[in-house]
Symmetry: C2
Subunit: 420 residues, 2 copies
């Protein structure tokens, strides 16, 4: 247990979100309140790569205003990376390098902000530091739009994507409803979530607004005939309908809808996503005019319409991570523990990383309606509070004021290190 | 000149927008302030089709609150349609039918809310009513996200799309900047605008935020080698870049980028848009990992982040249309006349429909940078005030409160009418 004053290291990992910087803000602001115990907070430039390359950012050079502005800035302010450390056995060298860098810069606190893979890395770094006798407290700060971390009720980043998807589906559906008499009758929107349908499920929230919607989940094997019959029935009843398709929607043989063997004029493999495939299927079978959208990064970067619940939780989990470190905890992750749906109440709990690493939380089957094309009331009760509240960024000249930090590098002390 | 009290007819035409209902709100609220001169405002269900079919909506049955809520509701509250009346010579029958329906329901004011085609229809209806001796004042209310109407400085609907595109490009670009070290280096977003690059131009506003962006306009013939060289240079200089591609971007022979002969496994014509084509081109030539988005309806329905300038102007033009009618004007359209860029000042002017109908306003060449991939300062000065200001809708349970009207039909008085 670290009691002396020591520096901290913070890094962002994997796909960034609308609120991962809110967690960074929570970490840094809370650390700054404890200068007796925490010296400088260093950030890894481009995530854990910054630690491996000893490319550290000195966050103490950022003004309180700049750090506060992180709360309303999407993306990863220090850069993130897609780089998964191999197992300890296969690449012990990289783990040891991390410890060396931490040692060289007097770092006793390691805050790693990411999803399942980074929880695993965080866990291993913690184990290795113990076996090497280096005093390090490794705390994982949860983040993933995929909402697939175990134990925590939800993951920061997800609520804002869910709000974006529900909102976009609502707005586009009203548009289609206006046009359906003579023009577009089906609108297809493709959303993220290769393994789990949490994000696609959010599209189901528009049913409360009277919008007919059909959802294609990765959890449900695609049945073209059944799907087309459902769309046909919706259009016959309402005059129009919207389809929310997960990028992970797939055929019974496991191939994604997006991979249907499309080739361009030069024979290159298909270019499009699932949305155009589904839209074309509807056009061919039912003859309806369609429009389709692929939200892609827009959904996870949409800080302008972030969920206030999500922003608050992202901040709180970052802040709590620092408190856990100060309380002497190691190899843990703060969690959202839901107390009640209505009124929405939760407390911040804590999970040990051995129970988090390498466990994926899938969407329960009873969140998906029996026919597989919609969400249940249970799912609705789960999702509703997560999109609650607006937390608008400031605007200047018609666009949000998002901060770009100075990100000044710390002088290196070690020899260069080549990645495996 | 109508001096007696008479009813009014209002219809929405063509693709709907985030603010066309704000114009409807302006028309109806202003008409309700002049009950001495204007009786009931009838709306056409699904635009002009409602007039032809004598399917009129009685807007007097909607509460003041519901009408006020139109100001912050996207889409077309009464339904719109894509239906262009043929020339007077070719289908005089339809024009005469309109007059018959107006006569049957005591309608002396015709407010038509749309783009170039509807301005033309409005003009012809006005001419025919005069030649038939039926007292009708036809006023066109401008609306088009394409921003291509002449005389008026801008068109309601455009400013909000421009804001959405600039904002989305900004947010997604920050995301890519975070990921570029190990993952995505190029983000491609496809936007609307088949004939003119006004919407794509809005993506250029993010350059003020330090974002490297390459724009593909419909006005500039696509040159693959030059484009790839530009993207390559941007990525080399900044580590990443964003591409905003207009759906109207095309090769020198006129074929759209989206139509590059892609076939699916069944030989169906291509499914995707321009964005995946451009992204794949970059991947093939430069090897960069990419992400792409197609905003489609999301951009024109995005009332949640509408431009306050746009909402205000949409309302004002609707209101002014009614005043023009009360002033005895016929065959005119209220316009936005810009007085100055900074501070932004404008007044509401008026144009006669003979000068509006069938004239498309293209983007001036000096709004596009010399190399064809960006916007000029002149364009920036033009666009900046149009995206200025936020006008948030109210929210309930995490989603905007958008109104759905009762849209109760008026009893028919005429025999049915078959469309040609």
């Amino acid at each position: 247990m670290t009691q002396a004053r020591t520096n901290a290291f913070y890094a962002q990992s994997g796909g960034v979100t609308a609120v991962i910087n809110a967690s960074a803000c929570g970490v840094i602001e809370t650390a700054r309140q404890h200068t007796d115990r925490i010296g400088t907070v260093y950030a890894g430039r481009n995530g854990i790569l910054g630690a491996l390359a000893e490319d550290l950012i000195d966050t103490s050079l950022e003004s309180p205003e700049a750090i506060a502005a992180l709360r309303s800035t999407p993306s990863g302010a220090f850069g993130s990376c897609r780089y998964k450390l191999k197992s300890l056995e296969k690449n012990r060298r990289e783990y040891e390098r991390l410890i060396e860098v931490f040692k060289a810069h007097g770092i006793g606190y390691f805050f790693y902000n990411g999803g399942g893979d980074s929880a695993d890395t965080c866990f291993k770094v913690s184990q290795l530091s113990q076996s090497m006798g280096y005093p390090l407290q490794a705390i994982h700060v949860p983040k993933t739009i995929d909402n697939d971390l175990p134990i925590t009720d939800c993951c920061p980043g997800f609520g804002s994507v869910a709000k974006y998807v529900a909102l976009s589906t609502l707005e586009a559906s009203l548009d289609v409803r206006s046009m359906a008499a003579t023009s577009t009758k089906v609108f297809v929107i493709e959303v993220m979530g290769r393994h789990a349908g949490w994000i696609a499920a959010a599209g189901g929230l528009v049913e409360d607004h009277g919008i007919p919607v059909v959802i294609l989940f990765p959890e449900i094997e695609f049945d073209e005939a059944k799907f087309l019959a459902r769309v046909d029935a919706m259009v016959k009843q309402h005059g129009y309908c919207s389809v929310v398709v997960s990028e992970g929607a797939h055929h019974p043989d496991g191939t994604f809808l997006a991979e249907q063997g499309t080739r361009d004029a030069f024979g290159h493999a298909q270019l499009g996503g699932a949305a155009p495939v589904v839209a074309n299927m509807i056009k061919t079978a039912l003859g309806h005019k369609f429009h389709w959208a692929v939200a892609d990064y827009l959904q996870r970067a949409a800080r302008h319409v972030a969920s206030a619940t999500d922003v608050r939780q992202a901040y709180e989990l970052g802040a709590r991570a620092v408190e856990l470190a100060l309380e002497g905890r190691n190899s843990v992750m703060p969690t959202i523990d839901r107390i009640s749906d209505v009124p929405y109440e939760y407390r911040i709990g804590v999970a040990t990383l051995d129970t988090v690493a390498n466990v994926e939380k899938m969407m329960p089957r009873d969140f998906i309606s029996e026919d597989g094309f919609g969400i249940t009331d249970k799912c609705r009760r789960y999702l509703a509070p997560l999109i609650e509240g607006e937390d608008y960024p400031a605007y200047r000249n018609g666009l949000p004021v998002y901060v770009t930090l100075k990100n000044q590098a710390v002088a290196k002390k070690l020899p260069a290190f080549a990645l495996a």
